[in-house]
Every structure is written in structure tokens, then in C-alpha cells.
């Protein structure tokens, strides 16, 4: 029989700061984590508002030898990992460590380190480069630091699937447990806000235009949305088998009822993409649930002009017939696009929302896009939510959806 996979804790470093509590209280309050960038000069990219983790002091949370050689990505992710283990009350005994793994999703996690290393190599020469900084250029190193810091010997994996990678990581983690390859997994993602990352989105023309009339920068599903507001963070959900969680008396925040991924081969080179509902259908099929049993969709919508449209069309297609009772929300209206961190942040908000019987608001929504043929709450709503579909998608055509059930 297929083992049940439950979520027993969260580790959160978001644009609202360090910790699950501050994240959740700001999300419920409809706050915005976006502000002018302080850690580098972003004027060449139009000085966009972004979701920076301000005043980030990892040494207050983690004790880890060699912390000073880690780049920001690794520092963010190690901090979130420690918070996740603490929140779940995971007791990492010698035996438990061999059965606990980590899966990380990242969009451009090592880009800053790669490029600064490479530019140093090119401008100052081979002799100037540091062997201690080279590992930061390798994308699986942040997850490697998590395993070193916590002594996790189960496995470590790093996935890359654009802006859906945080959920792709949780899907991989769940399936590793189902296949008996681990009993518990820290699953989530990370990305740091750096000039190198910002330039990628700027050059690709994906960033939100500067607000001219005081309109908000990040307005998912709004008819006048102009693009993505970039953010950073790290987040983990702790996944375990139900048996292990129950045996140790852990608080269970939710259960993963199904997951699915899909790809639209026509999207990446803009060849008339279709609605990106493939992942949603796959997740429903995997869970054995009907569209009507989903109470709330936590959309991946981030204000992207074509991305939000594809997702809205996907929701319309998959939930055809049950749209009148479906509620949809876009958390990224508040946090910005936290890239790798977004997936587990959405899962965290979904689980806490089910526990408290609330749906967080979608902010900055002034006029819904005509394609959004479903209800979007713009203020905190009370609602009895038992099943949430959490979605993530990428302009390349990739998508992953997870279905989370209430405990």
C-alpha cells in the first residue's frame, strides 16, 4: 500500500523576515514584502521593487563551521533548514539521519557565485581565484551544506525547473518517501536576490514595469499587470511518512494527497502555448480526487503577463463546471516571486490557512483579467478549507501542482 506522506514542519526565510510566524502574520494582513533593493545597485535594471530579506543574520539561527565562505544562497537555505527541523521537532538521531534527505529547488541559486568567480578569473587571472569559493559555483552545493550542517545521510538532491522548482522539489521528495528511499525529507527551495539574477529577468523582459500612476508593482491576475517582481528567500516543508509522524507524536500540518507535473512543448519558444492545466490534471489524477473536491487553489501567478494568463486558462479548463465555488489566491502578490522558495512558502500558507480556516488575500488586484473566471479574495476571508491545490509554473511551459489535505 502507498504510504501516506504528511507535513510536520516549516522553515521559512521570506521577504518578511526570518521565521514562519512573521511570514504568516504578514500574509494574513495582506502586507507587501516589496521595497527598493538595498544590497546592490539595481538602477541598470530600472530600479524595480523587490522582495529582499532585510537584515539577514544567519549566525543568529545556525551554528555552522565555515559559514563565512558560504554564499547568500547557502546561508539562506541553511537557516531555513535549521528552522524546519526545529519547527517539526525532528530528532536527528544517528539512525534517523541515515533515513532523512533533502531536496532543493533553485532557479539561479549559484549564478551570482558562478559569475563572480568567472569574472574574477577573466579579469584578475587564474592565480587570483579562491579554491574556497569555487564550490559555491556548483548548484548542488547549497543542499550539500544542509546535509553537512545537519548530518543528513539519506540523500541530497537539487532540481531545476524554472519558477516551478520549489514544488517540483516537494514532489520529488514525496516520491522518494513513497519509494522507500527515505523516511523524512526536507523539501523546498532557495534563491537569493543578486544583480546577476535580476539581470536575467530584466534582459528577458519579464520584470514588472515601474509604476507610473502609483499602481502596485506586483499584481497577479490584474488586467494591467506588467510583469514579475523578483524576491528571494528559502523555505522547507518537512515531509514524513504518517507512521513516523504519528509514532513520534508530531504535529501534522497537512497531508500530500497527490502531485503532478506537465510540460507544454509549445510554450518556451512562444509557439501558441495552451492553458497550463496539465500539471493540475496530473495532480488530480494522482490523488484520485475530482476537481469539485478542491476548495482553494494557491496559484503560482506572479504578475507575469503571459504566465498568469496561461495559469488562469488552465484553472478554467481543469475546474470547468465547478468554478462558481472555487476560490483562487496569489500569494506572490505579497511576497513577490521568491523563485525556488515560492513552492514551500505556498504550501506553508496553505496548511496554516486550512488550520485557521482562512484564505489570505491577494493584494494589488484592482481589476481582474477577463481570463480569471473565478473568485479571488482581495481581503482575508474566513472559509472552511479542506483541500488545497498548490500550483507553480514557468514561462518555459513547465508546471507542477500538489494537492494538500487538511489534518
Amino acid at each position: 500500500m502507498k504510504p501516506r506522506i504528511v507535513i510536520t514542519g516549516f522553515g521559512v526565510v521570506s521577504p518578511f523576515g526570518v521565521g514562519k510566524q512573521v511570514f504568516w502574520s504578514k500574509v494574513k494582513a495582506g502586507a507587501s514584502g516589496l521595497k527598493p533593493i538595498s544590497t546592490f545597485d539595481a538602477s541598470g535594471c530600472g530600479s524595480p521593487l523587490a522582495g529582499e530579506v532585510e537584515d539577514f543574520r544567519p549566525e543568529q539561527v545556525i551554528k555552522y563551521k565555515g559559514l563565512s565562505f558560504l554564499d547568500r544562497t547557502s546561508k539562506l537555505v541553511c537557516t531555513a533548514a535549521q528552522l524546519a527541523v526545529d519547527d517539526a521537532g525532528l530528532e536527528l538521531t544517528r539512525e534517523a539521519k541515515t533515513r532523512t534527505g533533502v531536496v532543493l529547488g533553485t532557479t539561479h541559486g549559484s549564478l551570482h557565485s558562478f559569475s563572480t568567480f568567472d569574472r574574477g578569473l577573466m579579469t584578475k587571472g587564474f592565480a587570483s581565484i579562491s579554491p574556497l569559493l569555487f564550490p559555491n559555483t556548483v548548484p548542488n552545493v547549497p543542499a550539500g551544506h544542509v546535509t553537512l550542517m545537519l548530518g543528513l545521510e539519506g540523500f541530497s538532491s537539487t532540481v531545476s525547473s524554472g519558477l516551478s522548482n520549489g514544488l517540483a522539489a516537494v514532489k520529488l521528495a514525496a516520491q522518494m518517501i513513497v519509494n522507500g528511499r527515505a523516511r523524512a525529507v526536507l523539501a523546498g527551495g532557495v534563491d537569493s536576490l543578486t544583480l546577476e539574477t535580476l539581470v536575467q529577468f530584466y534582459a528577458a523582459g519579464l520584470l514588472a514595469k515601474p509604476a507610473t500612476d502609483g499602481a502596485a508593482a506586483c499584481s497577479p491576475f490584474d488586467k494591467d499587470r506588467s510583469g514579475i517582481s523578483l524576491a528571494e528567500g528559502a523555505s522547507f516543508a518537512v515531509l514524513e511518512t504518517y507512521e513516523q509522524a504519528a509514532a513520534r507524536g508530531a504535529t501534522i500540518h497537512g497531508e500530500i494527497l497527490g502531485c503532478g507535473s506537465a510540460f507544454d512543448p509549445k510554450a518556451v519558444y512562444r509557439l501558441n502555448p495552451e492553458a497550463n492545466g496539465g500539471a493540475m490534471s496530473a495532480a488530480l489524477e494522482n490523488s484520485g480526487l475530482s476537481p469539485g473536491s478542491i476548495d482553494f487553489v494557491s496559484a503560482g501567478a506572479n504578475g507575469g503577463v503571459s504566465g498568469d494568463k496561461m495559469e488562469a486558462l488552465g484553472i478554467k479548463a481543469v475546474f470547468k463546471g465547478v468554478l462558481p465555488r472555487l476560490k483562487v489566491g496569489a500569494m506572490k502578490s505579497m511576497t513577490g516571486e521568491c523563485q525556488g522558495a515560492s513552492g514551500a512558502l505556498q504550501i506553508c500558507a496553505a496548511c496554516l490557512g486550512m488550520q485557521e480556516g482562512v484564505i489570505p488575500p491577494t493584494i494589488n488586484l484592482r481589476e481582474k483579467d477577463a481570463d480569471c473566471d473565478f473568485e479571488i479574495a482581495t481581503e482575508l476571508q474566513k472559509a472552511n478549507i479542506n483541500t488545497v491545490m498548490v500550483c507553480g509554473s514557468d514561462n518555459s511551459g513547465l508546471g507542477t501542482s500538489l494537492i494538500i489535505g487538511k489534518q
Binding site: 556548483v138 536575467q200 534582459a203 506537465a262 512543448p265
Partner: protein, 408 residues
């Protein structure tokens, strides 16, 4: 419900051969694929040789406009995938949602990132245009393969450094086993990278002339490039379309050293556990293992620890099992390496010849196994263990077996 998973198509683009036939011929002849790297200026690096694929002309396989919009790793990945799909006899996807892509890579498209850095150095960050920014993401090799074949199922990229290929194959294995997909184009791709060559040189991990795995005088690895792709298929699906089967993926084991970010655990605990898990899942007994395709990078630490781990797992039998490292010929293509080694392992099962470890001269007392020195060996092989032991302590091991409908 658990499905059996078989390999029905193979493709490889490597420094010793383009296409599986040329690759196979080179491998059993003990061909050396290492030469001076000319892909970029290496004059300031102490050691400048590696496994650059110098005779790869993408125009032979791809359209000019396609070549223009994708990086080298994507080119290698698409070409190896076309070979594998052609070999599997799949020309049309009747149910594209049941087909996936799972590829491993270390850096994705490092050549494009390095182009961006050149632009940045001369013209500042704002000089990076969309033409490069849309070519650089690490997931693009997998995406481009999926676009090539019209895949609509899961498309995933595993960034597990030098174990990425095996991890991607392992993920594909799990997806098919669980019944989520029928066919997965699985493997790995890596392009030559100046950052990689500089970094490994700075870690004193690159050999000066040749790659000599397990030899007493081994001096390090050789950075290389390439792609290896397997068409993995649900058994019933393969049987229904009367596909020819190379081998069965019988098991997969993963673990993590949690010891050091670049070096292996001195007692090989991760390698041991990953081999044991792969054996346990495959139900292959120690006595049944006919060949071990080693990670065998040629660094002093890896080869010693890997030999130790093999002895720990196989006990008295360790000395009797042929163990070889094809990295002696190909160098280490990082994210592609274990995928190319999986292609080699499937061919070994099909064709009954074990490739050699070349450049092997002086035995090392700490590496005292049968490394199939210098000359390939004709021998029936029913089961293979293929190791990948990576940066960050990532260990991933595959167990392959000759397909036999009566077993299991």
C-alpha cells in the same frame, strides 16, 4: 502497484565516439579521448587537457536556427536523445502526457553563462541581452529535448553534480515504476566549462597528461563533456510495441556522505550505503554481480575510497568482480558522466564485453581489485552495478540486469 522498467534505446555523444556504435568501438578498443582543450583560452591554467568533443558538428544533426538559439549542453542532449529515440524506434508519441524527460547536469549551460560574463566585463550588466539570457538556464537541456519530441509529461532537471545522470535515471525509474509515466528520455548532458576547469585546477584535482584511475601514480581527473541518454520504458509498454530491450533497470540506491563539500568520506559510508540500497532493491545478490562500472575519477581520494567501499560491500568476492572506469578514456563529464556510464553498462550487458581501465601501469596497494587493465575482456555479463559518487557527498548507484521475463 509496481512496474518493471526496461531500457529500449541508447544514445551517446562522447570524446571517444559520437553515436553508440562509435562510442562502443572506442571503448572496447581502449581509445583515449583526452587532448588539449581548445574551447577557450587555457594558457593561465596549470593543466589544460580534457575530454573536449572536437569532431562534434551540431549542423549534422540540427537545424541552423535551432543551433543558434540553444547552448552546447542542449545540443549534445538533443543529439543523444535523437539517437536514443531512433534506436528505440519511437518516431511519434501517441500519448505525450505519459512521456517525460529527466536529465542530469552540473552547470546546465556554462558556456552561455561565461558568454554573459564576457559581455558584463566589457559592457556592464546591462549589455546582457535577451538572446543570451534565454539560453542559459540549467533546465534548458531538458526543456529543449522535450520540445524536440513534443513531450507533455514531467520534464525535470537534476543538478546533483557528478551524480546527476544517475539521479535523473533514478527519478525516471521511480516515475515509471509508480505508473506515472510510460516512457522517459533520461540521462545527462554537460558542456565544457572554463569555470569548471579553473576550479578543479585550483583544487589540484586535474591531471596533467592522462587519466589513470586506480593506478598508484594517478594524478587526478580530466574534465570532459558529452551526453548520454537512455529511453526507459514501462515493460508492458515496450513489449506491446515489440521493442528490443537492452537491459532492465533493477534498482537504484542513493545516499549522502554528509562529510565534506568536495571530498568523499574516508570510509566511503555514502558509497557503501548507496550500493547496498541498489542491490537490495534489485534483489541482486553479491554473488550475481558480474561487473562494476566504477565512478573512478582518477583522483587519489575517490579511487581509494571507492575501492574500499566495494570491498566493504562485496567482502570476499570483491577481488573476483571486474571493476573498470571508462573515465580513463572519456574523462569526467560531470552531470553527463554517470548517464554515459549507464549507456555503457547497458551495452556491456547486451554485447558481453567489459571495457578496460586504460593508462593503468602500477598497482596501488590501496586499490587492489581487478580493474580490467588496459584491454577489454569478453565475458557474459548479466548484472552491472554503476557508481556515481559526487561533489557534495551525493552518491547514486544503479543496478542493471539482463532482461529475463521469468525473473521477478
Amino acid at each position: 502497484m509496481s512496474n518493471r522498467v526496461v531500457i529500449t534505446g541508447l544514445g551517446a555523444v562522447t570524446p571517444i565516439g559520437i553515436g553508440t556504435d562509435e562510442f562502443w568501438q572506442g571503448m572496447i578498443a581502449g581509445k583515449n579521448g583526452i587532448s588539449e582543450i581548445t574551447a577557450f583560452d587555457t594558457s593561465s591554467y596549470p593543466h589544460r587537457r580534457g575530454g573536449q568533443i572536437k569532431n562534434f558538428d551540431p549542423a549534422v544533426f540540427l537545424e541552423p536556427e535551432q543551433i543558434e538559439r540553444i547552448g552546447r549542453a542542449s545540443q549534445l542532449a538533443i543529439v543523444a536523445s535523437k539517437m536514443a529515440m531512433g534506436d528505440a524506434g519511437i518516431t511519434h508519441l501517441s500519448n505525450p502526457r505519459r512521456v517525460g524527460v529527466s536529465l542530469g547536469t552540473t552547470y546546465g549551460e556554462p558556456g552561455i553563462l561565461e558568454q554573459e560574463d564576457d559581455l558584463w566585463i566589457t559592457g556592464g550588466p546591462q549589455s546582457i541581452g535577451s538572446c543570451v539570457a534565454l539560453k542559459n538556464s540549467s533546465y534548458l537541456p531538458a526543456i529543449n529535448v522535450a520540445v524536440e519530441f513534443g513531450v507533455e509529461g514531467m520534464v525535470e532537471t537534476l543538478l546533483n553534480a557528478c551524480a546527476a545522470g544517475n539521479c535523473a535515471i533514478g527519478y525516471a525509474f521511480d516515475q515509471i515504476k509508480m505508473g506515472c509515466l510510460d516512457v522517459v528520455i533520461a540521462g545527462g548532458a554537460e558542456g565544457m566549462s572554463r569555470v569548471g576547469l579553473a576550479g578543479f585546477n585550483r583544487l589540484f584535482a586535474v591531471a596533467p597528461e592522462i587519466c589513470q584511475p586506480f593506478d598508484k601514480n594517478r594524478k587526478g581527473m580530466m574534465l570532459s563533456e558529452g551526453a548520454g541518454v537512455l529511453v526507459m520504458e514501462r515493460l508492458e509498454h515496450a513489449v506491446a510495441r515489440r521493442a528490443s530491450i537492452y537491459a532492465e533497470v533493477a534498482g537504484y540506491g542513493v545516499s549522502c556522505d554528509a562529510y565534506h563539500i568536495t571530498g568523499p568520506h574516508p570510509r566511503g559510508i555514502g558509497a557503501i550505503r548507496a550500493m547496498e540500497s541498489a542491490l537490495a532493491e534489485s534483489k541482486i545478490t553479491l554473488d550475481q554481480v558480474d561487473y562494476i562500472n566504477a565512478h573512478g575519477t582518477g583522483t587519489p581520494a575517490n579511487d581509494k575510497v571507492e575501492s574500499l567501499a566495494i570491498k566493504e560491500v562485496f567482502k570476499d568476492r570483491a577481488q573476483q568482480i571486474p571493476v573498470s572506469s571508462i573515465k580513463s578514456m572519456l574523462g569526467h563529464s560531470m552531470g553527463a558522466a554517470s548517464a554515459i556510464e549507464a549507456v555503457a553498462s547497458a551495452l556491456v550487458i547486451k554485447r558481453g564485453v567489459i571495457p578496460p581501465t586504460i593508462n593503468y601501469q602500477d598497482p596501488d596497494p590501496e586499490c587492489d581489485l581487478d580493474y580490467v587493465p588496459n584491454t577489454s575482456r569478453e565475458q557474459p555479463v548479466n548484472t552491472v552495478i554503476s557508481n556515481a559518487l559526487a561533489f557534495g557527498g551525493n552518491c547514486a548507484v544503479l543496478a542493471l540486469r539482463k532482461f529475463d521475463n521469468r525473473v521477478n
